[in-house]
């Protein structure tokens, strides 16, 4: 296991952000934390990356007990935070250089690493541009590139595509897949976008109000419900029924006297069936 988490708890005053969650991340996989805002996704990432130092529970990195005070684990992780925390007054090059210096990359090695991440993120030709003048998508690419400079083995991405338009989001997915496949980097991402978890993750943990409500391969989680969802549009609510075959769903739809639609089961259906709520409410 790359990361093993047992009974992780975190409280902020009266609010219990994490209520004893347990999960594991395998080496080389894309692992997703899916859940609505306030589910505890960012808190988990902050604990796993040492940004939050006080917590309860056990965390193992490659079998070794984790402590946020141990510096060596910070050399193997890269972190892309939810917010665009590029230094807006600095150029792309200066932003990357600060990160290189923080990780002890100097001289030729530094130049090589900067060139490589610029190629990977498609930011060649923008080296001397002020970070503030980059588009939202380019800023996200710069942050991802920055997190890869020291060649981490585990990359944490906290809501990597939040606020991006669909086309840019898709290009980000390609980039994340590339990092996972070409660099062999384990990817741990949090998202509240169903399709993002579905498209990228080999395994998913569904989180709600600080609790793990389900975990497994997206396909397995969906198949536990069925293959097709029939959405029935009542006046005051949308009801969902699940079927193993499209024919069964269509037959049921024809028997209804209210509008309805058949589609494939997605992870939101899993969330809805487990919590009674939609992720994006």
């Amino acid at each position: 296991m790359e990361i093993e988490v047992q009974n992780l708890r975190k409280r902020f005053g009266e609010v219990e952000a994490l209520r004893g969650i347990s999960f594991g991340v395998f080496p080389g996989e894309v692992f997703a934390f899916l859940g609505p805002n306030g589910a505890g996704k960012t808190t988990t990432i902050k604990i796993l990356t040492g940004l939050i130092r006080e917590f309860q529970g056990e965390i193992l990195y490659r079998g070794e007990p984790f402590s946020p005070r141990i510096l060596s684990f910070k050399r193997v992780i890269g972190v892309v935070p939810q917010h665009n925390n590029v230094d807006r007054d600095l150029t792309v090059e200066e932003n990357l250089k600060v990160h290189c210096y923080l990780h002890g990359l100097w001289g030729k090695k530094q130049r090589e690493r900067i060139r490589e991440v610029l190629e990977l993120t498609g930011l060649q030709g923008h080296l001397r541009r002020k970070a503030d003048h980059l588009s939202g998508g380019m800023k996200r690419r710069l942050i991802i590139g920055r997190a890869l400079l020291h060649e981490p083995q585990i990359l944490f991405l906290d809501e990597p595509t939040v606020g991006l338009d669909p086309a840019v989001r898709r290009s980000m997915w390609d980039l994340i897949r590339g990092i996972n496949v070409l660099k062999g980097c384990t990817v741990f991402l949090t998202t509240h976008y169903i399709e993002e978890a579905d498209m990228l993750a080999q395994r998913v943990v569904i989180l709600d109000a600080g609790r793990v409500v389900a975990q497994g391969r997206p396909q397995e989680l969906k198949e536990a419900l069925g293959r097709y969802t029939l959405e029935i549009y009542h006046r005051d609510r949308i009801e969902e029924e699940f079927f193993q075959s499209r024919e069964e769903a269509l037959e049921r739809m024809r028997s209804l006297d209210v509008p309805a639609k058949v589609r494939e089961v997605n992870l939101e259906d899993v969330f809805l069936s487990l919590t009674g709520r939609r992720i994006r409410v």
Binding site: K46, T49, G50, L51, I52, R53, E54, L71, S72, K74, R75, I77, V79, P81, H83, N85, D87, R88, D89, L90, E94, K97, V98, H99, Y101, L102, H103, G104
Partner: protein, 246 residues
């Protein structure tokens, strides 16, 4: 030490980007005080057996360099809570003390600018000041103390509004009750006692004492006092940066 350089480099690039604006802002403040207090009020006046301008220049040096060194509190606070750049430092494989050292070094560097301006002005105006190793040591301690104080405030205060209030209630009174514009001994009793609690009082006495030929203001007692203050500030800064979370 890589963390110290990384943080210092970031601040240096940030400072460079702001260029003329930041240099001017660090110089205009002492220049205005020099004009208002030195020439507006104090022309021809004598204090503690010397011309008021001669008395004032060391005070302006400590006040304006303190403002600049302490000013990192705003920059660190903004980078921590608004731009979230501080998070990058917390995620890096560096000791937390390195973050503190990089920021404090930057604050001390910033504090040197008005010193250079005022020393240059003094040379130009024919005010005889002595630049001795002892003066440089006192200036170093003064800048270190207030850069540390700025860093502590940035770590302890969670909003810009609180920071502004703190400046109004602590820093501004400190400027006026610490031997900078007039000798503290001439003040009413309460103000005098308040002044004795201010580290600026001691660093001003030390810097004035070492800069002015024939001055008897310098005392090793004050020097030790400043060292004590710095050690206490250092301890607080280390604790706060160790506790910092994103």
């Amino acid at each position: 030490m890589k963390g110290v350089w990384a943080v210092f480099y970031r601040e240096l690039m940030f400072y460079r980007r702001r260029g003329v604006r930041t240099v001017l802002s660090s110089v205009i403040y002492p220049a205005l005080f020099l004009l208002a207090f030195g020439y507006g009020i104090g022309k021809g006046a004598r204090v503690s057996g010397m011309s008021y301008i001669t008395f004032l220049i060391p005070g302006l040096i400590t006040m304006s360099s303190m403002n600049q060194a302490y000013g990192i509190s705003v920059e660190v606070n903004v980078s921590r809570y608004y731009f979230k750049i501080f998070e990058e430092y917390l995620l890096a494989p560096i000791g937390r003390w390195e973050i503190m050292a990089g920021e404090v070094l930057y604050g001390m560097g910033k504090g040197l600018l008005p010193v250079l301006f005022l020393l240059g002005y003094s040379a130009f105006a024919g005010i005889g000041l002595r630049i001795t190793p002892l003066f440089l040591l006192c200036l170093f301690l003064h800048l270190l103390a207030f850069a540390l104080l700025g860093f502590i405030i940035a770590m302890a205060v969670e909003s810009h509004a609180d920071q502004a209030a703190l400046s109004s209630f602590v820093m501004v009174p400190m400027i006026f009750l610490s031997d900078t514009f007039y000798p503290i001994d001439k003040m009413p009793l309460l103000a005098r006692y308040l002044g004795y609690f201010s580290p600026l009082t001691y660093s001003t006495k030390l810097i004035r004492g070492t800069l002015l030929p024939g001055s008897h203001l310098f005392s090793f007692k004050y020097l030790l006092f400043m060292v004590g203050i710095i050690l206490a500030l250092l301890a607080v800064a280390v604790v706060l940066v160790e506790r910092a979370e994103a």
